[in-house]
């Protein structure tokens, strides 16, 4: 892969990660080494093998539509860094 800085910047942006210039450089180095190692995957003939996202054979793990109104708001808000008027506070979101 090209783990050049442009790729790192693109990916860091998708992941909403702030990276310093120095960080960009070393992640770029690390990722190049890792991706080079992973080149081995390209050589495997996976033919018509179906992707396996889960080993489980469980299907339909469903719950009944029952509402349980345990109001935990205050307990939950207490964990938040910034709140106001029962809401979570974030910087102005410009739409």
């Amino acid at each position: 892969m090209q783990a050049d800085e442009k790729t790192i910047s693109y990916v860091a942006n998708l992941a909403a990660l702030h990276l310093t210039q120095e960080e960009k450089e070393h992640y770029s180095r690390d990722l190049v080494a890792i991706m080079n190692y992973m080149e081995e995957l390209m050589a495997i003939d996976t033919g018509d093998v179906q992707p396996m996202e889960h080993v489980l054979s469980i299907r339909n793990a469903l719950r009944e539509d029952v509402a349980s109104n345990t109001d935990m708001r205050d307990k939950l808000l207490a964990v938040a860094p910034k709140t106001e008027e029962g809401c979570y506070l974030v910087p102005n979101v410009v739409e």
Partner: protein, 497 residues
Amino acid sequence: MELHQMPVYVLAEKLKKKELGARELTQAYLNRMQTFQPEVNAFITVTEEKALAKAEALQKMLDNDQGGSLAGVPMAFKDNMCTEGVRTTCASHMLENFIPPYNATVVERFQSAGTISLGKLNMDEFAMGSSNENSFFGPVRNPWNGEKVSGGSSGGSAAAVSAGLAPFTLGSDTGGSIRLPAAFCGVVGMKPTYGAVSRFGLVAFASSLDQIGPLTSNVKDCALVLDTLMGYDPKDSTSANVVHEACFPAVTQGVQGMKIGLAIEYFGAGLNEEIKASVYGAVKALENAGAISGECSVPATEYGISAYYLLSSAEASANLARYDGIRYGHRSEAATDMQELYRFTRGEGFGREVKNRILLGTHALSSGYHDALYVKALKVRRMIHDDFAKAFETYDILVSPVSPTTAYKIGEKTADPLQMYLGDVYTVAVNLAGLPALVVPCGVDAQGMPIGVQLIGKPFSEKKLLQAGYAIEAALGQLVSPMASQLLKQAEGSARI
């Protein structure tokens, strides 16, 4: 025998028979912690007061012949299992002060069983690591040699048991995170079948691979703890709705006629000779006890590292996206707008290796690479799964080393993530295939560091793995770390029965 050297099943018995008090036992562990915790750094949080209060309450129940199966037994949770009212950090600056308002299902299960939590155990940040050096709270030191790593990511869980700081602990295993530290610290560790243990309240690293398991000083304890741990949980859609037969009563049933497979891929180049010899020694022990061994092959496991690091990082990149400084956890003070709040919070809150995995995983899922990396890895995963299934048509258990080397020096591999990843070569395939695997100590190397053997089974064959593990332990003996052999001076309150 010292209290801290007693097996869990003995402690539970003695507590029930009132030959031992819950408070006395808890205090004995807390006393040891005073001396040894600063040396090993196994705990992130020690909940001394809560533990003593709980011991008091449980003693009252024990006095009335009440309490669960493990009433009064101290233990500790890896710090990625949510504990209501006790901070759960995942060894990350991001969650340094996070106190969950809810419990993980496993925490509830052990509370019902009557255990006493001593605190929360050190780990690699968000369980990403193989040496426990990626902790915001500093590395865990190996109780066998303080200059060496404990293994990771459940380093605190393994070291605490190894150092005699807890009778048993819980860890989590995504790619070897229970088994590797168990081997490095000379304790018993089990990664159960995917779906056997609830993941609710386990802070997710890679959802399709994560599984909680026990770390104990001996195989019988492992079985006993597993019997409390396993079970269906409607709060976890990936939890298997099956009835688990009790393991503990069946541990000593022997291995007569059991078919043991040695996969050639696990004994190739790169494996330390001492470890190879030691693992063969364990195989010999099984044969002596009546098992039959033979060679087999699981060729696709050769690609395990690549597939594992792509898939686990891909899932992690989404699982860790929720840490944004809005609802809980660290929030950057420097941010002036929404984009900065995200980017700075995450940039400041996550450590180096976590960022590395997020970048790798985001890349693997991103447009243009999704099929070549993520989907390809999913296909390799199926191949690995099928290879194991084929081997298990012939064999009951596969035997392998846990790691190519024994515990290495702290700092030795930190500069090179790839070298660190390659240390997981024998463990990751088990997670990709969702299989159970048990690690049992089987010797020490020339430097006196423990060696473990890995027993891999078919889905839900934990009982059989424990029977084989017990046979090895019976033949080769338990390992006791120098730190566990070290007693406190009388003045420090060492208790003896």
